[in-house]
Subunit: 359 residues, 2 copies
DNA sequence: TTGAAAGCGCTACCAT
DNA sequence: ATGGTAGCGCTTTCAA
């Protein structure tokens, strides 16, 4: 690995001009067969690879798309002594895994879509929203930026947006000056509710969530509320579970067949257990559904009906949005939504053999 | 988003020379406070971000590290009608998920390590080993290449290596002309065996693998063989399972307490079931261990003792290797190994309350 | 401390 | 079809 060969080296060795080499390499313009042959030979010989920097400099584009993700911090289990460890899976680890697979899908979706349009992607996991230099640096080497979640400060974002187009993904505080992509989660909640009511004769919808609602959860509840759903908030603490059990019993008595729409599969599994404690049979007394279609829900005892929001598509759509913006810089900021899918399983009353039902 | 501001724009607006702006931005050389202030102001005003291409061109380095991964193709479940689907988890999907989380960890490890040394990373999932242009392109925009698995043809690799240093990760056909990183999997197998024999009184070690051994598996078996292990190959087909059951019964009768070292957690779980069918109690008649420490093993009935090879560290180590190479281009190609960890659980005879044991 | 200017490797335009 | 050449935006001498 000496000084890497340049186009000039190739030209000299081949006995043709730099311009001709450039044309040959880019397949632009006509190049005589003899020239092409000679040039190709010296390319091989010298191991020539054109410099992306030089190309980018003259063409004013880098051929790269940047993906900024919020870093997920995961607790690693304590390692006890050299090479041997006693391991216990922990909640924190599980949550981290869910986030990882989510981000992983976004990355892969973006990578694939970027590849389709001839771009490479570069990624940065941002630990700290004030870590500006990181994002700045990235902005300098890409044609466009996909920012997932709230990894980046709003004002930095606007600064960067003056240089490269920015597409937000699943941001909670998305401002309308940027293009924005998320899943149609509220639509999913609605579909789910509709399914429960129409197909499984649920008479009372209940939206089950944590003690404080996230933006997504609020949106979902808004939709569900219109369909007559009530809200049941479950704290993280195990201590408060008896209350929840009581509430479930209560509602069952008051209103007949329950449809418990939980805001995550994790929560859904927990509610499954609580319903059992409440003496409710699932799905007969209470149909229970999750959200996000994680493995945990697929492994649950009555498998959990859930809403799948393909993060793969999220990533891909973000890249497509970027491409549109790139080719049409002046148009209004747009909002894209990736469609969701309701995955019907036993926890809502479907029989494993029953055919799928349409919306 | 007009034409992005250049250093010249900043200089003009600030009323100082290009050179001074450059020095201010890079913190190199002395710049008077007044100059700094004026320059900083116009940077903000113009939303100036220095062009990585231009920088790269002059400095002859891109500040990027490329990560090439073999694409994992996963079967997506058939979607049945609009937005509703009946889902069944499939083996193919499970395998894909394992690969994904493995690759995901490598990416995150690499990203993090790269960040430490001031580099960004770019990734390419290569669908087809002959997709040369993709990798070529990447080679043109990075300071170094990390190639995972057998994603890239050997001869292309050597071509590229003339331009950028290449570090191989988990390649089966790694040639000694490149730096190379993998896990100490064979060491792990050895440690596992040792643990089984010394701590749990296993009298007969059996290495359980698929019908054709991968390179890793061969390495592991080589080690185990020295410790007296025999080989038991299990085909993917369920049909042949009775034979395996018979084999297990046979060996148990012949040689006393069995130590079944399986080449993956998936296989381990399967063997768990087969041992049960064979009427063997686990871990009393047969201690069973997996490999790779996946979720499936942690969820198994007697939780599976396994060997964890932190792919996070793989990625990080690869980047470190690259950095060494970058700062010392002439040294001999090196082989790096990330240490493994034996995770002791019930399937080998450990009590969940028992303290961890040292090697 | 500052500024002028020579490239870095490449593309694209203009002659030929 | 081919070659000469003017930049692209930046860093880095070298003088001042």
């Amino acid at each position: 690995m000496n000084r890497p060969a340049t186009i000039a080296d190739v030209a000299r060795l081949a006995g043709w001009s730099i311009a001709t080499v450039s044309r040959h390499v880019n397949g632009a313009g006509k190049v005589s067969p003899e020239a092409a042959a000679a040039i190709q030979r010296s390319i091989e010989e010298l191991g020539y690879v054109p410099s992306a920097s030089a190309r980018g400099l003259v063409s004013q584009q880098t051929g790269m798309i940047g993906l900024v993700l919020p870093a997920v911090r995961d607790e690693s289990p304590v390692v006890e002594s050299n090479n041997l460890v006693e391991y216990d899976a922990q909640t924190a680890t599980q949550i981290a895994e869910v986030c990882h697979s989510y981000q992983n899908d976004i990355i892969r979706g973006a990578e694939s879509a970027a590849w389709e349009i001839g771009h490479a992607i570069t990624i940065a996991a941002v630990r700290d929203p004030e870590a500006n230099s990181r994002v700045r640096d990235m902005a300098s080497r890409v044609d466009g930026l996909v920012v997932v979640g709230d990894a980046v400060e709003a004002n930095l974002l606007t600064h960067l947006a003056r240089r490269v187009p920015v597409v937000l993904v699943d941001s909670t505080r998305h401002e309308s000056i940027h293009d924005y992509v998320d899943s149609a989660d509220a639509v999913g909640a609605g579909l789910l509710a509709q399914h429960l009511v129409e197909e499984h004769g649920v008479t009372q919808l209940v939206f089950v969530a944590g003690t404080s609602l996230t933006a997504v959860e609020r949106r979902c509840f808004t939709v569900l509320e219109r369909l007559g759903a009530t809200l049941l908030q479950v704290s993280d603490a195990t201590a408060s579970e008896p209350e929840v059990v009581a509430a479930l019993v209560q509602r069952r008595e008051d209103t007949g067949r329950l449809g418990l729409v939980c805001s995550s599969d994790e929560l859904g599994v927990r509610v499954l257990r609580l319903a059992e404690q409440a003496g409710l049979s699932v799905p007969d007394d209470a149909a229970i559904t999750g959200f996000d279609d994680c493995r945990i829900g697929r492994a649950a005892k009555p498998r959990l009906t859930s809403v799948r929001q393909a993060p793969l598509d999220l990533g891909a759509l973000a890249v497509e949005a970027l491409q549109r913006r790139l080719s049409n810089p002046q148009s209004e900021p747009q909002h894209y939504e990736v469609p969701i899918t309701v995955v019907v399983r036993e926890s809502c009353g479907a029989h494993s053999t029953s055919p799928p039902v349409s919306a």
